[in-house]
């Protein structure tokens, strides 16, 4: 299972492709068969081998803040009981 994943927002993504140029695992692709409401081909995670590490480098370069990055992490310590 992948350590991380990204979700690209359709309204915001302009298909500029910069995320693709920086992804170290090369798991992002422009969807040439799809159009966003603004008429762009959006970027999407294509990660059949589960290689995304959630490094978030894509989100650093995204000019539109269109990428949300998730990563599987250790569970946070339990909160102390109330009262």
């Amino acid at each position: 299972m992948a350590e991380g994943r990204i979700v690209v927002d359709d309204v915001l993504c302009k298909g500029c492709g910069l995320c693709i140029t920086v992804c170290p695992k090369d798991v992002i692709r422009l969807q040439m068969g799809e159009l966003t409401p603004k008429g762009y081909h959006p970027a999407r995670l294509e990660d059949p081998e589960g290689e995304c590490t959630g490094c978030a480098i894509c989100s650093v370069i995204c000019p539109d803040g269109a990428i949300t990055v998730y990563r599987w992490v250790a569970a946070p310590e339990k909160m102390p009981a109330a009262g």
């Binding site: 309204v11 650093v60 992490v73």
Partner: protein
Amino acid sequence: MRAEGAQVESAIYTRPESLRPVHTHYCPGCTHGIAHRLIAEVIDEMGIRESTVGIAPVGCSVFAYNYFNFDFAEAAHGRAPAMATGLKRVSPDKIVFTYQGDGDLAAIGMAEIMHVAGRGENITTVFINNAIYGMTSGQMAPTTLPGQRTTSTPLGRDVEMHGFPLRMCEILSQMDGAAYIVRRSLHDVANIRKAKKALRQAFEVQRQGLGFSMVELLSSCPTNWGIQPEKALDWIEEHMIPAFPLGDYKVHPAIAGKKPEGT
């Protein structure tokens, strides 16, 4: 691959709250978007969204006030530093910044930026230098490089006819009132991270009342340079950085060598 003991999926990067969740009119791959995002992230991290006022320029970022999620004013071309001065002087507890392009700051606004630095006004300027006039479709800017083709230098900028590019960090760092004058670049992830740190420092300088702060960000204009977004980022590295060297041109001793709280 997922680490052992990883049990919870956490959102480790989400869009900053200081940016409105709206589509922007900037061209695909334009570094304005990166600059906006970094400013918004810094403002979120400093917790100052509710006391920040931005001043938008004339240029591609004229509608910046539609994209940021805090108080904003629209300035006349080049006048943002003067507006910021008026606003900050009567509201000294607010964080006031201008966001300006190369025409706005270094052409029509040259007097205003020089004097805001000279007065040591406690405001921050984010200077987007992409060596061209974007909004009006690609004319020469004060920072256009010799030989660079633009619609008003169709044969390439000839220094005999059009003079030389202006290096604003070098100029403004001479002012006693300037507290933090640095140049960074947005052409790759490592430099974008450095740019964010510089923006954070600049706002800290304002918060501490140390004087005028400016972060010049070497930026791209794929549309008017006529090249693809990723090639445009390479162009920054190959051509702009030699002409506009990255670095710290002035750093107030009070923050030299110190990292802002929480970074």
